[in-house]
């Protein structure tokens, strides 16, 4: 009995047993749709998490000065440490694993535009920050090397800072005052969105950036004449280098500050990668895949039981087929293919539903941090694979039962 014949037979069964077939196929349909949807959604959650955590800067770590660790000094008054621009330059020259370095200074300050006053996080930055933080310009330009060299009083605003300070009336070219000093707005950052990780301070969207040199022009900080920066930003080429990069940064900075390379209290390093690495993202994907697969398996069991019933009801038919020349293996193939065709029809419809569902949801513009499914070709192949497995598994038992029917008994039945 050829394939075409068996497929025709399967469709005939579907037609004559519409409701029952539909209900059983629905199980497989829902199962494959679940596999596609849940796995895509898992990717979406993962991507959302990654995006949320990298909004402070992708693969970025930050070093803060601390105090010398207890076990590294006999003194009771543990030495307080600070970073200067000279340290930043030294680090920049010596790093190997780390791929980009920038110093950053910060203060909490009132910013004034006309009659409007706004307190926010003002940062002295280098040109590299725009790239290191991964912010794009919505308008104007970022802080340039020339701005630093000439200590220009220019500022770049985050969208939130712009909204609250300038409102609808001001844009590029507006003059604002920071700590009483006039600064000209030269650029506006594109919206960054909610950050799942940030350094102490405001989110990027609420920050005001000025050239690091202009920042130092406000006067000495912490009673020191040196150009003191609060943090050193260090970017990794690859997040897998994180531990090595930390060691490298501590070694270089430690040498400069004359503290031990292993003193984690003296040179404090943190990154969004700390949190991201703790998230059970891979486990979540596995759990979602298992959930979908289980749903599909239950659908497969539905088809299995329906086909077992069907074999029982059609013993007469099997007897007739054997009497007119069918081999056992023809019967086996017929029932296997019938089951498989049903599984495949339900499964393909389920994949279509899952893909459509993902597409529709992914087309929505949503607020930050609501995961949307991310559909990949591999997911469709996974679903097809699992579906094929389920189809084969639920086809074998009924087919085997069918092939064992005794024609002499069934043909006697009136």
């Amino acid at each position: 009995m050829v394939l075409v014949e068996a497929i025709r037979q399967a469709f005939r069964t579907l037609r004559t047993e519409k409701l029952r077939s539909f209900l059983t196929m629905f199980g497989v349909l829902w199962g494959t749709a679940s596999v596609v949807f849940l796995v895509s959604w898992g990717l979406g959650v993962q991507a959302m998490m990654e995006a949320g955590y990298s909004r402070a800067g992708k693969n970025l770590m930050q070093a803060w000065p601390g105090v010398i660790g207890e076990q590294f000094t006999p003194a009771t008054d543990r030495r307080e440490l600070w970073f200067t621009t000279a340290d930043v330059t030294a680090v920049r020259e010596q790093v190997r694993i780390i791929d980009a370095v920038a110093g950053e200074a910060r203060m909490w300050s009132t910013v004034v535009f006309r009659e409007k006053t706004f307190s926010t996080d003002v940062r002295g930055v280098e040109p590299a920050q725009t790239e290191l933080r991964g912010v794009r310009m919505a308008a104007g330009r970022g802080i340039s090397r020339a701005d630093l060299d000439h200590r220009r009083r220019v500022a770049v605003l985050g969208t939130e800072a712009r909204r609250r300070l300038l409102g609808a009336r001001g844009g590029i070219g507006s003059w604002i005052r920071i700590k009483g000093q006039p600064f000209q707005v030269i650029g506006i950052h594109a919206r960054v969105g909610t950050q799942l990780w940030r350094d102490q301070g405001e989110e990027l969207d609420a920050q005001v950036w000025i050239p690091l040199t202009a920042f130092f022009a406000f006067g000495p900080r912490f009673g020191s004449d040196a150009d003191i920066v609060n943090t050193i930003l260090l970017r990794l080429r690859d997040r897998r280098d994180y531990d090595d990069a930390k060691r490298e940064a501590r070694a270089i900075i430690g040498r400069r500050l004359r503290v031990s390379a292993t003193d984690e209290e003296a040179v404090r390093i943190a990154s969004s990668l700390d949190q991201l690495r703790k998230l059970p993202l891979e486990q979540t994907s596995t759990v979602l895949l298992l959930l979908g697969t289980t749903t599909l398996l239950i659908g497969g069991i539905g088809i299995l039981t329906m086909m077992l019933d069907s074999v029982q009801e059609r013993r007469q038919e099997i007897g007739v087929r054997l009497a007119v020349g069918a081999r056992r293996r023809d019967i086996l193939g017929q029932f296997f293919l019938e089951t498989f065709v049903m599984t495949a029809l339900g499964g393909l419809a389920g994949i279509a539903l899952g893909v459509a569902g993902c597409r529709v949801l992914a087309s929505f513009e949503t607020a930050d941090l609501i995961p949307l499914p991310i559909l990949r070709a591999e997911i469709v192949f996974i679903a097809l694979g699992v579906m094929t497995g389920v189809g084969i598994a639920s086809g074998i038992i009924p087919a085997w039962r069918a092939a064992k029917v005794d024609p002499s008994v069934t043909l006697r039945a009136e």
Binding site: M1, V2, E5, R12, T13, T16, Q316, E317, G319, V320, R321, L322, A323, V324, G325, A326, R327, R328, R329, D330, P407, S408, L411, R412, A413, E414
Partner: protein
């Protein structure tokens, strides 16, 4: 005379259903030659259907030897038996045994579909077979849309489709009224007249008496084997 299509020697069949053992056949010796028409007669429970199932290779005898056209059946592997059923034998059952979801034409085509015959040729031959049994008008009907006599004609057409060496009919008129039964018998006689070998089971002596050779069985044994001149 012509060759033996069937040669049975000491055939017995025991059924073991639960603790009860039934001896349905107890030593059957029978030779049926090509072109013969034989009526197997006997009361209900005498073993007629069991004998037919053995002749049709649907059932293995417990003992004895069955040669079909000289070949011992027990030496033929399962696939060979399936092929033999499909090409050499044509079955007609008391309860018709048509597949309810297939049309008359498709039911008749069924044996050919296991022989790898193309759809086109299947159609043509099934059409021809239905024509022979006088059912050319009912090709697209489902069994449920046909009368009992018509269903049995479809079943006979299905039995004929492979031009078998032997037609086995187990009480073909058992589920029909007497007038329709006579029509079916007339059809079987016609087929016999055309040279087909026909073995027919009946417990109705009026039907049996029309047949040239009659084998009476009782309690699984052949009682008499008579031929009309």
């Amino acid at each position: 005379m012509s060759d033996a299509v069937i040669a049975l020697q000491g055939i017995t069949k025991r059924y073991a259903s639960g603790r009860v053992r039934v001896e349905a056949l107890r030593g059957i010796d029978l030779v049926i030659r090509s072109g013969e028409m034989v009526a197997i007669m006997g009361p209900s429970g005498s073993g007629k259907t069991t004998l037919m199932e053995i002749l049709g290779c649907l059932l293995q005898p417990s003992e004895g030897q069955y040669r079909f056209k000289g070949r011992p059946i027990h030496q033929i592997p399962p696939d060979g038996l399936a092929a033999l059923r499909g090409t050499e034998l044509g079955f007609v059952f008391q309860s018709f045994n048509l597949l309810p979801r297939l049309t008359a034409l498709e039911n008749v085509e069924l044996p050919l579909s296991y022989r790898g015959v193309t759809a086109r040729e299947r159609h043509a031959r099934a059409h021809e077979a239905l024509l022979r049994v006088g059912l050319a008008e009912r090709l697209r009907h489902l069994p449920s849309e046909l009368s009992g006599g018509e269903r049995q004609r479809v079943a006979i057409a299905r039995a004929l489709i492979n031009r078998p060496s032997l037609i086995l009919a187990d009480e073909p008129t058992g589920n029909l009224d007497s007038r329709t039964g006579e029509e079916i018998m007339a059809l079987l006689h016609t087929l016999h007249g055309e040279g087909n070998t026909v073995v027919l089971v009946t417990h109705d002596t009026r039907i049996g008496d029309q047949v040239e050779r009659r084998v009476a069985i009782r309690d699984g044994r052949i009682e008499t084997d008579t031929r009309s001149p």
